[in-house]
């Protein structure tokens, strides 16, 4: 089942007169940069899920909040859909444009408004890059904890919208745990503040609701994040295993020993070789799997914990354990991991990144399932994941120019996600549903649950103008999904 916007399944698209809308916006929103020529629109036709492209009707690049507010009011009045875009690094097609909509690009809002080292907070505009916050806080000995691998490029507004995670989330939490306040504009152009500079705010926890809401409920225009003191020390152990299942079990054993590592990541052989080839991180290319375990905190405790973890890894059957000698080597170990996606990308014309999350105890079973599926579909799969969180990133290698291979890759991806749901997990841990997993939402949730999601959306955007077609599938799409699934299941039963 295709994921591109399909009026039959996703609802009728409004009939819009591009020239008239352009004229209205130009008139209502003084000074707004509005792109409309085809060649100017091309750079915006996709996000990080680049196999899917749609040319937006118009692209708006506002520079002031007054412009954003007025743009929303005009679009609301004229019934024009609005898709918000941060840096466009999303991997689920969340910022994929609509042919009949305006793409609202917030990349020009890139100022850090305030760093308050005493209160340990930073107040920033939505287009600020994730890493820029930690860079600005660094002189005060502080940093912003969530660190998606895309942190040099992705925006904090996009992080809020996806509830982004990173390699340090098991210990330091996701975006939702590190944002204390956001300023929001509704589709009607009204302003509201969610959360506060204090540790809570009166009323419903709308701040939690907006984290991970994929631009469906409002436009986030300012974000206040909390900053943490940099740990006194951080040490990394790299353990190699000759069997991926042993590596999986070692993850549970570390946590069972009462240790919450700052980061706990796993890569399989294909990913190890790709990363080593690309970065030269010193990874053991013969290993079936490696675990990277970072322990951070106060020097004395970290030394104690390193000893404990070393013992646990040995008992779990590690064939080699190496501790990074210094910060440079530690950075190198992480560089291999953080560049794993592009590294795998070099091995294949295209790759497709999955994001299923499972209970850790099911790791071995799911890896086995993935390897069986990979064989069945004849497509290689490299595994990189946030092992501590049970968040897997199987990377499916394919060639979009070989007819049919994209479809096969997608079908394989869909099967992997359904496997994750089957073992009690979820189809997305941090990349979001967007357009990409719109069909699998029908597998994870029942019709009444999806109806509740639609009700929550309707509370903020009753006419459905914000990012239509994303995140929550329509009943029509789910009934088609179920029909196709049962049709596919029947012949299998006979055969």
């Amino acid at each position: 089942m295709n994921i591109l916007y399909d009026e039959r399944l996703d609802g009728a698209a409004p009939k819009l007169d591009k020239t008239a809308i352009r004229d209205s916006l130009a008139q209502d929103v003084p000074g707004l940069t509005l792109l409309h020529r085809e060649e100017d629109l091309h750079p915006f036709e996709c996000d990080g899920l680049s196999v899917y492209r749609t040319l937006p009707m118009l692209v708006a690049l506002p520079e002031t909040l007054a412009q954003v507010e007025q743009l929303l009011k005009t679009c609301h009045r004229l019934g024009v859909p609005v898709v918000t875009r941060g840096a466009g690094t999303g991997l689920s097609g969340g910022a994929m444009p609509l042919e009949h909509g305006v793409l609202l690009v917030l990349s020009r809002f890139s100022r850090i408004l305030e760093i308050d080292p005493e209160a340990r907070i930073a107040r920033v505009e939505p287009g600020v890059r994730n890493l820029a916050i930690s860079e600005a806080a660094s002189p005060y000995g502080l940093y912003y904890a969530p660190d998606p691998s895309s942190q040099i490029a992705c925006s904090i507004g996009g992080n809020v919208a996806e509830n982004a995670g990173g390699v340090h989330c098991l210990k330091y939490g996701l975006t939702v745990h590190n944002v204390i306040k956001v300023e929001v504009l509704t589709i009607e152009g009204e302003h509201m503040t969610l959360g506060s500079d204090a540790l809570d705010a009166p009323g419903f926890d709308l701040l939690a609701l907006f984290n991970g809401s994929e631009g469906m409920l409002g436009v986030v225009t300012e974000i206040t994040v909390k900053l943490l003191p940099k740990p006194e020390t951080a040490k990394v152990l790299m353990a190699s295993f000759d069997d991926i299942e042993k590596a999986g079990n070692a993850v549970g054993s570390i946590i069972a020993a009462g240790i919450i590592p700052g980061g706990l990541e796993m890569m399989d052989n294909l990913a190890i070789r790709a990363a080593e080839d690309f970065i030269g991180a010193g990874y053991p290319v013969e290993a079936a799997a490696i675990l990277l375990c970072e322990l951070d905190g106060v020097e004395a405790d970290v030394d104690d914990d390193c000893e404990t973890v070393r013992r646990v890894l040995e008992a779990a059957g590690a064939t080699g354990i190496q501790q990074a000698r210094d910060d440079a080597e530690r950075a190198l170990f992480w560089a291999g991991r953080k560049n794993a996606f592009p590294a795998v990308g070099r091995m294949s014309p295209d790759y497709y990144c999955m994001d299923g999350t499972i209970p850790r105890r099911e790791l071995a079973r799911v890896l086995k399932g993935i390897s069986d599926l990979s064989e069945q579909y004849g497509l290689r799969v490299a595994n990189v994941f946030h092992a501590g969180d049970g968040n897997m990133h199987p990377l499916i290698l394919f060639d979009a120019n070989t007819p049919g291979e994209l479809d096969e890759a997608e079908a394989l991806g869909g099967k992997i996600l359904e496997l994750c749901v089957e073992v009690g997990g979820t189809i997305t841990g941090e990349h979001g549903v967007g357009r990409e997993k719109i069909n699998q939402m029908c597998a994870q949730f029942r019709p009444d649950e999806l109806a509740t999601f639609r009700a929550a959306k309707a509370a903020f955007d009753p006419t459905g103008l914000l990012n239509p077609g994303k995140n929550i599938p329509t009943p029509a799409r789910c009934s088609e999904f179920r029909t196709i699934k049962s049709a596919a299941a029947d012949p299998a039963k006979q055969g």
Binding site: H177, T426, T428
Partner: protein, 373 residues
């Protein structure tokens, strides 16, 4: 171990709760959801047929290695915490217990956290998922039993602190953590001003502080973490040894400051208020004596006041610094009509919209949070 041993009280009452909700929905009868009935002093009085979760008890899933526990809403909080303690684990947000009857559902619906909150996070930070009976009396699952989940909107965290106005929680899944390896407490006899300055300095260092409250001329500190760092920090901070029992007494509002017994004792002339303030709030601009007589918990981010100051004076002082004030006195007191800080108009509009969408017949705890819904 995937499950704890069941207790004789374990019982799945979700179907009868669902049936009651379906009936209430059909007749438009408001319901007053009751867990252990221990937090009646928190929130507005609500009229409605009592719907008790007390029968719906038991831990349905617990895997210490996975750091995940799922528990039915009527389970006493004490029972859950005991099961976790057996495995050397805990609810890191240190929820207050206002009595042995306090339930997990009431804890989540009120969303109150204890002294560790600024360092560890709040109730909602540790909620991974929830089962909720919505207005149609169908049990729905949001979030899950995994650490990360961004499929659909985060409705499980939305339920935290919603006081049962958006639906009835039947089961909640939490992330739990190992108990710290070491814990020491101390107190330093220093002024409020001095305490603020030291906390600000310490906050920029990775010290193992897990609680900090200033009251009655002394800063009370708890250190938790690895034995080595706790011992070293204890040495460095100096001061006198503090009995660990201080923290549960502060958490459960049992210190002398709070007055003996229930809400009625707090009523009369000096009702209790909770102020939620940004870290490093220098002063609220109230009389010095008033500020010195408060408890400044959460390193200053949560203050307890017993005062006859009128609601508006207190609230505008809080608003100036981006904080808010909650009334916890008894019925008929100066804040009982509006115990929670009133919402700005746009925010109120979207609260009403959300309530109308998720509880169109207005059957769940109407008026408990705000008169408008």
């Amino acid at each position: 171990m995937d499950k704890t041993a069941t207790t004789p009280h374990d019982h799945d009452a979700s179907e009868s709760l669902a049936e009651r909700i379906r009936q209430a929905s059909a007749t438009g009868t408001p319901l007053r959801i009751v867990g252990g009935d221990t937090r009646g002093f928190y929130g507005r009085p609500t009229e409605g047929e009592v719907l008790s979760t007390a029968e719906h008890r038991g831990i349905t899933f617990y895997d210490p290695v996975e750091l995940v526990v799922s528990v039915r809403s009527g389970t006493p909080l004490a029972e859950l915490e005991a099961a976790l303690a057996e495995q050397g684990q805990m609810l890191p947000f240190e929820p207050p217990r206002f009595g042995e009857a306090s339930t997990v559902g009431g804890m989540v619906a009120t969303g109150l956290s204890g002294p560790r909150r600024p360092w560890a996070g709040s109730v909602r930070d540790f909620v991974l998922g929830a089962r909720v009976l919505g207005h149609e009396g169908i049990e729905q699952r949001f979030g899950g039993q995994v650490m990360k989940n961004v499929a659909g909107y985060d409705l499980s965290r939305l339920m935290v602190g919603a006081q049962g106005t958006l639906g009835l929680l039947t089961e909640v899944t939490f992330k739990v953590l190992p108990r710290p390896g070491a814990s020491r407490s101390l107190h330093l006899d220093i002024s409020l001003e001095e305490a603020r300055n030291r906390l600000a300095d310490w906050g920029r260092e990775p010290l193992p502080i897990s609680a900090a409250a200033w009251l009655e001329g002394a800063l009370h500190i708890r250190l938790e973490g690895g034995p080595s760092s706790v011992a070293a920090t204890r040495e460095r901070l100096g001061g006198d040894e503090l009995d660990e029992k201080f923290w549960p007494a502060l958490r459960d509002l049992k210190l002398d400051f709070f007055g003996q017994g229930d809400a009625s004792a707090r009523a009369s002339d000096r009702p209790l208020w909770r102020l939620s303030l940004p870290h490093r709030t220098a002063s609220l601009g109230l009389a010095d004596a008033a500020e010195a007589s408060m408890i400044h918990d959460w390193a200053g981010a949560q203050c307890w006041v017993r005062s006859a100051i009128d609601a508006e004076t207190l609230r505008s002082a809080c608003r100036r610094v981006d904080g808010h004030a909650t009334y916890l006195g008894a019925c008929g007191g100066p804040g009982s009509d509006e115990p929670f800080t009133p919402l700005p108009s746009v925010l109120l509009k979207y609260h009403r919209n959300l309530k109308a969408e998720l509880d169109p017949k207005g059957i769940f705890n109407p008026g408990r949070l705000y008169a408008a819904f």
